[in-house]
Structures are given as C-alpha cells and as structure tokens.
Symmetry: C2
Subunit: 265 residues, 2 copies
C-alpha cells in the first residue's frame, strides 16, 4: 500500500481520496488553496492525515503526489510545490506530462470518467489511463490504479489527447444532443419522458456492437422526404435546424460515401 | 382481447405479431407482398392464422388492421386494401393519420423504439403513441397497447412529428457521435473500449436528471484553450473537426447566450 498526498479537493480529488483510503492506502496529507471540503474529508480520513493550504508545507515522502486540480491550474501547482522524493502525477485528460517537467519522477493518473457532485463514482468501472517518465514509476502508478479498478491502461500523452477528444464526442456532445431533444419536446409540449427508453436502448446496443453497425434513421436510409419534413418542423429553431442538417450530412457521408442530401440550407 | 390483422412482416410487424399473440390477441391474418418471414411466424402463431400476399384477400372483421410496413409504403397499402369494418392503424412515426383517409375508422399505433433484427424487444419498456379519428377507436387502440406496455400516450399527429424529430437527435445523432468517437480512437490506435464506462455513465445521469443540467466539458466551461487543442488534433479529419466546432458553439450558445468561441474555422 502506498503513501499518498492529494493536491486538490474538487470532485476528482475528493472522490479519489475516499477511494484510495478505502483501498488501504495511507493518505498522509491533503492540500487545497482554501479549506474547501476539508470537513467532509476529515470525517472519514484517519486523524493522522494532515491538511494544508500552503504548498511549501508539503511533507516529503517516496510515495505518490496526486495533483487533482483544474486543468489550467496543474502547471502552477506543479511548479510552485517543492521538489519531492516521490512520484508527482496529475489526473487531467488534457494536460501533457511535460507540464510536470520540474519533477524527475512524473506521471499521469487519469480516471476517464465524468464526475458530478451528485453521483456516486463506482471506481471499479472507471478506466485508469496511466503513464510515467520512468518504467518503474509507471508500474508503481498502475499498481495503485489496480487497487481501485481492473480497467488499467498504459496510455501515452498522444493517446490520452486522442481519448480526450473522443470522450468529448461520446459524452459532452451526445449529452448536448439529448438536451436539444429535451428542448424540442418541451418547446412543443411533448413529454421528453417518452424518449427515455429509446435512449437507453441505443446505448445498450452500442455496448454490444460497434455504433457504426447499429446506425438507424432517415439519414442512414438516405430518406430525403423525411429529412425535408423534419427540417420544415425545425424552421422556428434555426440553430437546431442547422445541426440537424450537418449531422444528417455527416451520417450520409459515413454510409453513402460522398452523397450530398439535396435539401436546402 | 382483439381480433388483429397485421400487414407487413418486417422488423416491426414480426415483433408486434409475436407480442400481440403472446398477450392473448387473436391474429387472424398476416399480409405481406412476399412470403418473407412467414415460416418464422407460422412456427408460433396458431394454425388458424391465415397468410396472404394479396390485399384483396384480407378477411373482414371489426378488430384492428395494423399496417406495419416501411413509411413510404403506408399510403399505397392503405389505398389498395379493401374497405374494412375494423380500425385501420399504422405504426409509423413520420406518417400523418390522413394517409389512411380512405378508412373512416383510422388511427396510429406507434411504438417509439429502435428495432434491430438482432435485438429482442422488451415491449413492456416501449412507449406506445396512440391516436385515432374517433374517440372510441382511440380507447380501443390504447387498450390493445396497454396489453403490451404500461407506457401508453395519447399523441396527436403534430406531437408525433415533433417526437420523431427529437428521436432523431436522441437516437440517430447520438449513435453517430459514438461512431465518430469509435472512428477517432481506431484511426489513432486507441481502444474505444476505454470510453464505454463513460458512455454508460452519461446515459445513467440523463435518466435521472434533465440532460441540460448535467452537461460537462470544455465548451460548457468555455475552455477555449482545450477546444483549440482538440481542433488541432482533428486537423487530418476535417469533417469531424467541423462537427466539433459546430457542436461546441451550440453548447456555448445554450449555456453562455450568444458567446461565440474565438477559434478559427
């Protein structure tokens, strides 16, 4: 079991502190620039865990220093914190390992999941993307990740950047399309509720088969008549109409080569 | 229990024939222009069920004639079939009730779900959208739908058209975004598998809260730095780059009013 300092008490820092403690690791210190969430963390961490708002007061040890702050604060925390004998890793999907260049033992400990305050995180289902400058440190970080989840992947900076873009499509953009569907329903007095089983079924399918193979709908069928009707219905919502058109064209391109659907902008 | 004739033995017709028979209804006749899937249907329907490839041979009864053919074939089947004493309803989300104008007792029996050959349909989770010209016929169709599912909704032509558009966003377009995420991963040698728990979590959230309230990601945070990096990574896939830009702008618009993200086309 490892000795761990956690820097940052936002969503990711809090959830990881709890999970790592529960997995038997020794959380020696929690840093945050303000005492945010300290009370909550104190309620389950051992009395020996120290808390600080000063990076200069970080305790030296040969374990893990986990930087779990906002993407744009990783660089500042890494540079301001003292040199330490342990491995310094961050949890960001978008930040290169070179941001930690001050620390010779550096790495990545990136849980690829969407964290929301209101939802419990089941870490055993969270994929961990691990990287490190030194092979021994990569093994060290992988071993820690495996105490939380069986899904541990060795992922380079370049691969992690690609995963992050793909995750934006798979999570942020799909969620936005659901929000649009909800908005279209509400604007027209139709219960969005009716669509929920459809959404669940769509996802269930793509867990079992490549999403490309289970595509359905008017654009997949190149059913220009239905698409034209839908565009007419969206006339009062030009932004959604535009998206409908662009996404239908993108589907048509994926399944019918360069076929352009002949409907007006 | 109702007497039912089913017209069409595609995915929807087949699944409904099985489910309606299992629910205790009397399937008197199956029509299809070719004997497609007859053998399969004969294996579980009673020996008394008749099969025909000729609309002129439809048996007259006062129950339900369910037209479950492709959207663009509904009109032709409705007009070619003889006048019947029962209720004529179709299962299409995109076709107005007026398409059945030949029949004074007409209605809609629309199961809002995505049907794929390889997947079993759990009708108890399928919402049925019901409409009819005559109130008594609407009640008749609702009663039949309730033998298959507790989710039965009275939905007008106008509402059904809106639901169909919203369903394209919620199902077809989200599935397409997952296919793009898969493609981005494969093109760059990263396992798409890693994203599956994220996708599952996104959907789980939106079942519990309005999707608008659980939006995350760089566009929601107006994190122009990350968006710019992502657009650079997508430079070799201009189609996906364009979609990334349009969808990010749409998210920014939903959460930040008219703010335009200042990154290049």
């Amino acid at each position: 079991m490892a000795t761990i300092t956690i820097l940052g008490t936002g969503n990711v820092g809090q959830h990881l502190a709890k999970a790592l403690h529960s997995a038997g690791h020794h959380i020696v210190q929690i840093y945050n620039r303000t005492p945010a969430h300290w009370q909550e963390l104190m309620s389950f961490l051992p009395k020996t865990t120290q808390f600080t708002t000063h990076l200069a007061q970080l305790l030296p040890h040969t374990g893990l220093y986990l930087i779990a702050v906002a993407d744009d604060a990783v660089a500042a925390v890494s540079q301001t914190m003292p040199a330490v004998p342990g491995v310094v890793a961050h949890t960001s999907g978008a930040t290169p390992m070179s941001t930690l260049a001050k620390h010779p033992r550096r790495g990545i400990f990136y849980p690829l999941q969407t964290f929301t305050a209101a939802h419990t995180v089941h870490f055993e289902q969270v994929p961990f993307c691990i990287d490190a400058l030194l092979p021994a440190d990569a093994a060290f970080l992988q071993n820690i990740a495996r105490t939380l989840s069986p899904r541990v992947y060795a992922i380079t900076d370049e691969q992690r950047r690609i995963l992050h873009v793909a995750a934006v499509f798979a999570n942020n953009f799909t969620n936005h399309l659901l929000a649009i569907a909800d908005d279209i329903c509400q604007t027209n007095g139709v219960p969005f509720e009716i669509l929920k089983p459809l959404i669940a079924e769509t996802l269930k399918k793509t867990e079992q088969q490549p999403p490309r193979n289970v595509q359905t709908g008017p654009a997949k069928r190149a059913d220009v008549h239905t698409i034209t009707q839908h565009l007419q219905l969206l006339e009062t919502q030009p932004q959604y109409r535009h998206l409908y058109r662009i996404l239908s064209e993108s589907i048509a391109k994926m399944y019918h080569g360069n076929l352009k659907l002949p409907f007006p902008e």
